[in-house]
Symmetry: D2
Subunit: 290 residues, 4 copies
């Protein structure tokens, strides 16, 4: 890959780490929106949004791009950065890469004739992000239970990216790993991988003897009827994005300890997350012809 | 094993959990020294130390037995429980089992003609306790670094009980595991187990590229000359009992992030630790003829 | 699942084991085509093809169903069993399950109005069959090299069912596992799983230091240019079905040791393979409404 | 380590590989006793035993040194090489390193004032040799059973070097691993390592459901009473040196399939075994002051 020039506009710690990583690889990087970071960025900020964006190959926005569809997600910025200001500074020959680009933002991007790519649509990024998510879940499990993970009965609901990654690590620590899935093919992979397969139809029978349940399915799977069967000492860690996989109100009524842990990669491992973003950006550039 | 009767005197959460586990196995249990526990013990306390100890087979003391060689280690007790009171109530035909019985206490035990056994001298107990210690170390590592353990370079100093257990779990999570040892036979085991062997003589050369260092050796191995070679972003977690394995003052001078984590089993997994104590007590009874 | 009645017609050792497993589960089983098996079948054969097929719920044919599209694949049968005889005995309300049903056979099945299901189209069956395939490959690798797998550089070409299963086992034995893939998402999974990812574009650079190469890709990937880079002492084991992944002629010219290992499940683990067939048949029945 | 000069006298394929490895490391090597090897040795033989031994630092003999206490173990030698000829050529300042030096040979060594070191007394060598032994055992298990190792119940008798190494690999392939031991501390390690601990006292209860039993204990543990409880389809692989751990006659009477597999490292992985010998020789030199 030939070296590129990047504008990094807004975002959290990951964006700053990303800037540093890109510089380490001998790319040119300009940044904007980190005045209040409160620590040494290792790189000087551009004087204005215009300066930061002007004449670079690629503009990198935050993850998520915006929390309100009006201003950029820029927690370290002194002043709000209106989305329209960003788009109006990007030229035709520049590429915008960011995470969670909402429909409305995508629409605006189109209006401004800006080619934008959503990082979270990149399969490899989602796969790699499951690693810090799984480690965060393990940290919570160790912290919040009076037992070891080793030799505990742990159940993972769902065998997607997070489910696969988490199950592997839990087994690596020495837990007795059960994994729930619906499809015969997933159940075959679960068996082949050395976990105990739990068909969805059979879930109720397995619940009573579980010590920790990790949910990765983003719709309510643990309803009252299933929650009712879970041991009072069991910890439930929900890793699924909204609406989550647990009927939280019923869980509270039943006295079950439930933790909803979201956005773990940025919290648990911002440096590693930045590395994954960098790798994915390089892949995008490679696909576009280097 | 025939059922026994136990007196559980003082101690922390582990002692209470132990009482419950022994009852679940249909043993008779009397307890004393938990008035201020502040939660349901699941069992009634004896009215007096005399009552609690009278006529049982085995008296179980806390871990450690005493912090000052005067009173029993009994954090949940309303009043101090003098060691002499404990010993004067134990009869010849009773057995005392506790943890960390100091030389002075052992001497007193002898004077009172009480047969006492130190749990921490039991090899199987020490081996099992390495499990919660390793999990606690992993929790700290996930918590305190901005990177994932997965794909990090982690170095374990020492290949004893904690070193072996921790290395296995770290590999299970996906770290690149280096293990330092001195003996050729340990280095052979390290290689055979799939870790990267680091001979003590070569340690200095490996240090610069480590992301996390776990020490398990209970004497200062990381002196100034070695600390000097460690990267500023590296986290050092010292799991060794006093004096620890790090020259903490020099580490601070060099700006190295060092965490000295002690007594993890009781903090991280009191219920599992209680289970290990129970198993070890059963082994002792078995060895003494059931 | 309610108990069913089965006809097992032709096939190798797996078919006989399957019959025994179905009987163990209290199903009714009739068999035909094993007169020359030469060992105790544990079950009496039907007198005729008609008797064997008459009045059962499900007819199970061999894997593959036929080698010549004329007669059933029935290596233990005294006389050839023409395919037409089989179909003419199957009634509308019976189901035919077999493996590798060719287009021509599928056509005949249609003509006879017989509902037939190909086991090898079942994803779960293919996933599970990768287990004995991987073990067979490992056996060959241990046998045919003067080195241990432990600490060897082994390369798996392809990250499909066999690639995933084989890589996991090789790592479990202690090999340094490299996996080649083309897609970024597969490369992310390879990294996440703890193997060394080898992008197809980079393959040539990795080849010289490999000790064993396992191919799982069913088209010629190792052409002359790549074979040329492989060490003379490297063993190549090709697990891919025709045409295989190696230019065998060029490999021979270059003096490379190449083994093409096909149909391993039936050879390496007929009993386990029969178990997988049984499980898959039960899944089919379940899907059809029990 | 400063470079040394070596004489390699007699031995099998491992000795030739060792010669090549030592040359690769820029040592000087002379060899004798391989006239009938029948393949290119990659190094010229010395004209006489005298020439081969003369003026080198270290003389390396075969493993075992001798089969009859008269001649050197030299399967590739045209003529017998009497032990006395070897010793009479070794000078005071030379070191003799070989494997399995019998008491009688040790006595002769003393008479000739030759300092000799037995490789098999080196702990690191025994630990590393357990790797090819375990792989050989796995190869036999895959070959000789009609089931996969994956998901099989396998029992390892003994938790020494071979037991530990084999259990790890079996788990890595996906077997359900049971390990028998006598000591509480070993049972604790077995549990901690993620295997199912089987106390010797309980062995009889576990035997009936085992699919494969690997013995590593060098005295008869599987006597009639225990053999009697083993399933007819179970395979027993005995890896222990004489007298082995199985009452072979009783096993045959009971129709049990028993394989006694000895000296696996030299058979399964002579090149790797040679590498381990080299590493051990370097350790010896290091210990003696380089």
């Amino acid at each position: 890959m030939t070296k590129k020039s990047f504008s990094i506009i807004g975002g959290d710690l990951r964006s700053i780490k990303l800037a540093n990583l890109l510089i380490e690889d001998d790319n040119k990087v300009k940044i904007f929106g980190f005045e209040n970071a409160g620590f040494d960025l290792g790189i000087a900020e551009s004087d204005s949004l215009f300066d930061a964006i002007n004449q670079t190959d690629i503009v990198i926005g935050p993850i998520p791009f915006s929390n309100d569809n009006e201003n950029l997600n820029a927690p370290f910025s002194k002043n709000p950065i209106p989305i329209y200001d960003v788009f109006s500074n990007i030229k035709d020959n520049q590429l915008l890469i960011a995470g969670v680009i909402s429909k409305k933002i995508a629409q605006i991007s189109k209006e401004y004739n800006v080619c934008s790519i959503d990082l979270l649509n990149r399969e490899e990024m989602a796969i790699l992000n499951a690693i810090p998510t799984a480690e965060g879940a393990i940290k919570i499990a160790i912290e919040e239970t009076p037992t070891t993970l080793h030799n505990s009965n742990v159940l993972v609901l769902g065998f997607g990216r997070i489910g696969k990654t988490l199950a592997r690590m839990l087994k690596g620590i020495g837990a007795n790993v059960y994994v729930e899935a619906r499809k015969y093919s997933d159940l075959a992979w679960i068996q082949s991988s050395g976990y105990i397969p739990v068909p969805l139809d059979d879930l109720a029978n397995y619940l009573p003897r579980m010590n920790i349940i990790f949910n990765t399915i983003p719709h309510v799977i643990l309803n009252y009827d299933l929650l009712y069967r879970i041991d009072r000492d069991c910890l439930i860690i929900d890793l699924a994005s909204k609406p989550g996989g647990v009927d939280f109100e019923k869980a509270r009524e039943l006295g079950l300890n439930t933790i909803w842990a979201l956005s773990l990669p940025g919290k648990i491992a911002p440096v590693t997350a930045a590395k994954f973003i960098k790798d994915t950006i390089y892949n995008i550039i490679e696909e576009l012809g280097g």
